[in-house]
């Protein structure tokens, strides 16, 4: 083993890198979809729910936003099984990322809903639409358009933070680097390449989501 910077030493592992990147992207895709759906209910509860429900959701949001993701993950992976709920590493990772991301999404969506002028709701109700319909077809689309950029950057931030799931043995992109460096001792090169892959993934995802946003909200995104 010499001390040079030798990328060739890890060139043979491109299949593993792809697999790891796939796991990382799959993890964030599942967690982001779940979080998005749950946070619609959460944000609506904060805005219009009963007082106790509102308090409960706000307490959840504050608790998650003021503790580190890695501790939340350890709590779910090690703590829940001690209560009798057995989890595989990947399930625990999906739950942990979803629980974390949902709290941020509720806070973002809540702000988006608040920014929709009250006249929109009144106009919908005046047209005789049922309140639930007013929410889903009048208020929600505008609320999402208001905060779309914030949602996208939160999802990307969470994808980067999800690198620590490698510590509970989920085979994500970071874990691939752990694996490679344990085989050939090219620690720095392995982590360097993986860092660059994350960088490219984050930049591409941001561009892609901006495109999707332009299509979906045709000029309404601020």
């Amino acid at each position: 083993m010499d001390d040079n910077f030798d990328l060739g030493a890890i060139a043979g592992y491109s299949g593993l890198f792809l697999q790891g990147a796939g796991t990382t992207l799959g993890l964030i895709a599942i967690a982001a979809s779940l979080s998005f759906l749950i946070s619609i209910g959460g944000a609506a509860t904060v805005r219009w729910g009963a007082k106790w429900a509102r308090r409960l959701v706000m307490a959840y949001v504050e608790l998650i936003r003021n503790t580190p993701f890695i501790v939340q993950m350890f709590f779910i992976f090690f703590g829940l099984p001690s209560l009798g709920l057995k989890l595989t590493a990947i399930t625990a990772a999906i739950i942990a990322v979803t629980v974390n991301l949902t709290a941020y999404c509720i806070e973002i969506l809540r702000a988006g809903i608040e920014a929709v002028p009250p006249g929109q709701r009144e106009a919908g109700l005046a047209l005789g639409l049922p309140p639930i319909w007013v929410f889903f077809s009048v208020i929600l689309p505008q609320a999402i358009a208001n905060v779309y950029p914030a949602l996208v950057s939160q999802i990307i931030l969470t994808m980067l933070e999800s690198a620590v799931v490698s510590k509970i043995a989920v085979m994500d992109l970071t874990h691939v680097a752990d694996l490679i460096q344990s085989r050939n001792y090219r620690t720095f090169e392995a982590y360097f390449v993986v860092a660059m892959i994350y960088l490219v993934m984050a930049i591409c995802l941001r561009r892609l989501m901006a495109r999707v946003g332009q299509r979906l909200f045709a000029g309404r995104v601020r």
């Binding site: 709590f75 703590g79 620590v164 982590y191």
Partner: protein
């Protein structure tokens, strides 16, 4: 399995929490100085600094903090510099904080109306005087809420340094958990200590922000 009383666990965790606070404080101050230098470079030498800063910020904002830490912890020894976990954690968090604070403060400086630059220039002020007497005092006021908000993010990120073996709160939780096999209680206490450190800051940041927006916006 070792039997530990709740007071033993609590005191062990609280002692380790001092390192979390200490590390956050150093990185926050170091990051603040770094960000200020980066910003001065950007506005004083737009041709070089204006290009360097976005690249620096992009790298630190678009890669996982865990990998930045690994690159420092395993990269510096390659250059012949031996680093302890504490050194690596301090350097990593400081570089990370520099990127985020520079980006936050850039937004605040850019929010100062163009006329303030023009007016101070027309009074014959040089760059240092403009920055010190006109731009920064105004930018400082609007920068406080997001800066405190970032401090919370920084404190949460110190937890990641447990992975390279730095003995702070999360690492202490791991040690307790390995000794007692009581993960539910251990990580509940760890979470509550983090919450007790972070929540007052979050609350303060929100109050400062509300004070800056005089209309009834929440």
């Amino acid at each position: 399995m070792i039997e530990l009383s709740l007071t033993d666990i609590l005191s062990f965790l609280l002692l380790a929490a001092r390192w979390t606070v200490f590390l956050s404080a150093i990185a926050f101050v170091g990051g603040g100085v770094g960000a200020l230098l980066l910003l001065l470079l950007r506005y004083a030498r737009p041709r070089f600094g204006g290009r360097f800063m976005p690249v620096y910020v992009e790298f630190f904002q678009d890669t996982p903090f865990l990998l930045q830490l690994f690159l420092i912890f395993f990269g510096l020894p390659k250059l012949g510099i031996d680093v302890s976990p504490l050194m690596a954690a301090t350097i990593g968090l400081t570089l990370y904080a520099t990127a985020y604070l520079a980006e936050v403060w850039r937004g605040c400086v850019d929010a100062i109306p163009r006329g303030q630059w023009d007016a101070s220039a027309s009074l014959g002020m040089n760059f240092v005087q403009q920055m010190r007497d006109v731009i920064l005092p105004q930018a400082l006021k609007i920068s406080i809420p997001p800066t405190v908000g970032f401090l919370v993010q920084l404190i949460k990120n110190t937890a990641v340094t447990s992975i390279i073996g730095f003995h702070e709160l999360t690492k202490a939780g791991e040690i307790i958990n390995n000794a007692t096999f009581q993960p539910f209680i251990t990580y509940s206490i760890v979470s509550l200590i983090y919450f007790a450190i972070c929540y007052p800051l979050t609350h303060w940041s929100r109050r400062l922000e509300r004070r800056l927006t005089p209309t009834g916006h929440r």
